[in-house]
């Protein structure tokens, strides 16, 4: 009985820890359509495919590009270290928030990296 009680306390503590950490740091993984309908308050994560016409500024440090998700498109700007294999056709995951004039300001930009010898971007190949 003592052990059951102790176990319950441990599980409760752990549960609270995980719950509070989730509440403090989770962000929504939204589609572009969702973002247009309900402009998010905090940071969100969006997945998209890089389209052609990438514009660089700041000596190649900053980029602005269009990401597409099905029929939806989103203008994204990002300043920081370029991930490897960034080019049209690559899928990217961006974290950030919509800024002024509809441009999504990305805090982090990750390309989906090719794993396991499978060709990285057969679509763009």
């Amino acid at each position: 009985m003592r052990w059951v009680l102790l176990g319950a306390v441990v599980v409760a503590c752990l549960g609270y820890l995980i719950y509070s950490a989730t509440g403090a740091s989770a962000e929504y993984y939204v589609t572009m359509a969702q973002m247009r309908q309900h402009p998010p308050q905090g940071e969100v994560r969006v997945l998209g495919t890089v389209q052609g016409g990438i514009r660089t500024f700041d000596a190649g440090r900053g980029i602005e590009f269009t990401a597409a998700q099905g029929k939806d498109q989103l203008q994204v700007s990002y300043v920081g270290t370029m991930p490897e294999i960034f080019k049209p056709g690559v899928q990217v995951v961006v974290d950030g928030r919509p800024g002024a004039n509809g441009v999504f300001v990305a805090r982090s930009l990750q390309t989906k990296c090719p794993s396991k010898f499978t060709a990285a971007t057969p679509a763009a190949g």
Partner: protein, 657 residues
């Protein structure tokens, strides 16, 4: 052409043998037929032999560049070096399944060959479970994703390999990782067999402990190589990104870490019987879960694996395994009586606490990984990143370090005053480290908590060697000789402490780069300089060179007399895809990590990271594995053979209750 037919036939025959092995295994175990049980085992060996042969055929097809096979065409081309061509064996989806199966077959055969002393029923059931797991993989390889599929038109050359993966890391990281992953099937099968057979003893555990250790070591090396590779090749300044694919690789390893500790409580005290079975089952389920996550593409990851039809199959297999092991545990678990824990302040109490913490960390990482799946069922999915793992993991990790400092010295059964006195050196190290950090101006809670605890743990383990050395001096017969004899006799003890020291060293590296990483992004014209964390870098200029099919742009920087060259490589053949090649200057204190982000004219955009103490990660993990090896090679030391009196006393109580 012919190779494909041979390979496919071998796999089909292996499937038939696997089914037979499973069927005969379970039935001979049920009726306890000592003549039929070896038949099941031999069928397993035969299946294993056919899988080895099929693997050899696939490797031969790759090396002979037989582009009639879709697998060869999709993963290699004529320009690819021979080692990387051979590595394509485990590089692709289908090949990695075959490699996984190969590992289970080899490790399973080895453990079954030595299982004669376990009795007819346990051995036969274990054969049955192992064969069933192999049958699942063989069904995948024969029906769903076969590596021996043929192309209708034979191309003259293959599609080649992505340049990111053309690296030595690719040769060694996946095979270690996958071998470790697959090894968990063996302890799992024996655990399930012991449950099904209704056995009370720990024979299954003693029998599979080595396999669990081997799997744990292989996967530990695999994880480190993955981190090393990410750090040196990908160019984002870090080594762990809390990506789902990384997380699921860590989960079974954590469960096994817990198991390798709690094993000793059962060996020494006859406690935690059900818990140990649970941990072994958990490790296997997590390895299948990981494969499901990775192969199904159900959780968005930065590692984009080709989405394949394997997803639902693995999901089904995982569900069957969860239900089967759950039912067996619920049915047989209550019959397994463990001796009660006498005092929480004891070695067994420390192991239990360590287990709870590690399972807690596992649960937190699991939750972070499946959160988008769970929340996605009710609406917009939620995702978590590094801040979540920091927040949820940090308190648990601090508790773990505290236990690491005091746990290994707590006596079995009940701790007394002598033990408290033995804590004075770790305590002294803790206070000393704290004072040094404060004197150096550290005020952050993280370093002030973690590093003193690490110092205490290091002092505890170092004390153990010092005490051993002092004891050996009294033994006579020449000090180095007697110390070596002592170390050999108490191999597991000293191996474990060496592994702990390795772990501590690796965590120092992780803590250093986590707490004190600094970075700067700069644009420099030739002649301009920048100072980051005391490193004064002068930019000299750019140079370009064409090497083979790619264009290399190098930025030349000097640091005192040394020159550093971060590069950018552009592959014309791959749609002008560019890759950074980082320049890293490592010292024991810190890594200077330079990334060339872009150029315009002679102007270079650079990201500069200073990662303190990172080198110690690459030192610590090998030391950890070395401790594991030294502690367990050769014939089992005497302390394994003879069970202490306490366990023998505990046995009759088990029989009565």
């Amino acid at each position: 052409m012919l190779l494909a037919q041979i390979g496919a036939a071998l796999l089909l025959a292996a499937l038939a043998l696997g089914l037979m092995s499973a069927l005969v295994g379970f039935s001979s175990g049920y009726v306890q037929d000592p003549l039929l049980a070896p038949v099941a085992r031999r069928a397993f060996y035969a299946m294993a032999a056919l899988v080895v042969a099929a693997s050899a055929v696939l490797i031969w097809a790759l090396l002979s560049r037989d582009f009639a096979l879709a697998y060869v065409t999709e993963h290699t081309d004529r320009a690819l070096s021979l080692p990387l061509t051979a590595a394509a064996f485990y590089g692709g989806q289908e090949g990695s399944l075959l490699y996984w199966l190969l590992c289970v077959c080899v490790l399973g055969s080895v453990s079954l060959a030595a299982a004669a002393h376990l009795g007819v029923r346990l051995g036969a059931y274990a054969t049955g479970f192992l064969a069933l797991i192999c049958v699942f993989f063989l069904i995948m390889l024969v029906l769903v994703e076969t590596p021996f599929a043929l192309l209708s038109v034979v191309p003259t050359d293959g599609l080649g390999l992505n340049p990111v993966l053309r690296d030595g890391g690719m040769l060694i990281h996946p095979p270690f990782m996958l071998a470790g992953f697959s090894s968990y099937a063996v302890p799992f099968s024996f655990a399930m067999a012991t449950l099904l057979a209704g056995r009370q003893d720990a024979a299954w555990m003693r029998h599979t402990r080595r396999i669990a250790l081997i799997g744990w070591g292989l996967q530990g090396v695999g994880l480190m190589l993955g981190m090393w590779w990410a750090y040196h090749v990908l160019g984002w300044g870090g080594y762990w990104g809390w990506d789902p694919v990384e997380n699921v690789a860590l989960l079974p390893w954590l469960a096994t870490t817990a198991y390798l500790h709690s094993i000793q409580v059962q060996e020494r005290r006859g406690q935690l019987r059900v818990w140990n079975l649970f941990l072994v089952i958990l490790a296997f389920l997590l390895s299948i879960f990981g494969t499901y996550i990775v192969r199904s593409g159900i959780v968005a990851s930065v590692h984009s694996f080709a989405v394949s039809p394997l997803g639902p199959w693995f999901y089904g297999f995982l569900a069957i395994c969860v239900v089967a092991s759950g039912v067996l545990l619920a049915w047989r678990g209550p019959m397994l009586k463990s001796a009660p824990l006498r005092s929480p302040i004891s070695r067994e109490g420390a192991y239990l606490a360590q287990n709870v913490i590690i399972v807690g960390i596992t649960a937190a990482i699991f939750w972070g990984t499946v959160l988008p799946l769970v929340t996605g069922m009710f609406g917009t999915p939620l995702v978590v990143g590094a801040p979540y793992y920091d927040r949820a993991g940090a308190p648990l990790f601090v508790l773990l370090l505290l236990l690491l400092a005091i746990g290994p010295s707590v006596p079995w059964a009940r701790a007394g005053r002598t033990w408290l006195r033995s804590l004075r050196w770790p305590l002294l190290a803790l206070v000393g480290c704290l004072c040094v950090l404060l004197a150096l101006g550290q005020r952050g809670a993280g370093p002030l908590i973690a590093l003193p605890l690490l110092a205490a743990a290091l002092a505890g383990s170092a004390m153990e060697f010092w005490r051993g050395g002092r004891y050996a001096r009294r033994l006579g017969g020449g000090w180095p000789h007697s110390a070596l004899r002592l170390a050999r006799r108490r191999r597991r003890h000293y191996g474990a402490h060496l592994a702990h020291i390795g772990f501590i060293v690796a965590v120092v590296g992780i803590a250093g780069s986590h707490f004190w990483q600094s970075s700067a992004q700069v644009d420099l014209n030739p002649g301009q300089s920048v100072t980051v964390s005391g490193y004064h870098l002068v930019y000299q200029g750019l140079s370009q060179a064409r090497v083979g099919d790619h264009l290399v742009t190098a930025a030349h920087l000097s640091l005192g007399d040394e020159s550093l060259q971060p590069e950018q490589v552009q592959y014309a053949s791959l749609g002008q895809q560019t890759l950074p090649r980082v320049a890293i200057r490592s010292t024991p204190w810190a890594d200077l990590y330079l990334v060339l982000d872009g150029t315009s004219g002679q102007r270079a955009s650079l990201t500069i990271f200073v990662n303190p103490l990172v080198t110690w990660i690459w030192v610590g993990i090998p030391v950890m594995v070395l401790g594991l090896i030294l502690g367990n090679v050769g014939s089992p030391p005497p302390e394994l053979e003879t069970e202490p009196a306490t366990l023998k006393r505990a046995r009759p109580a088990v029989a009565h209750s």
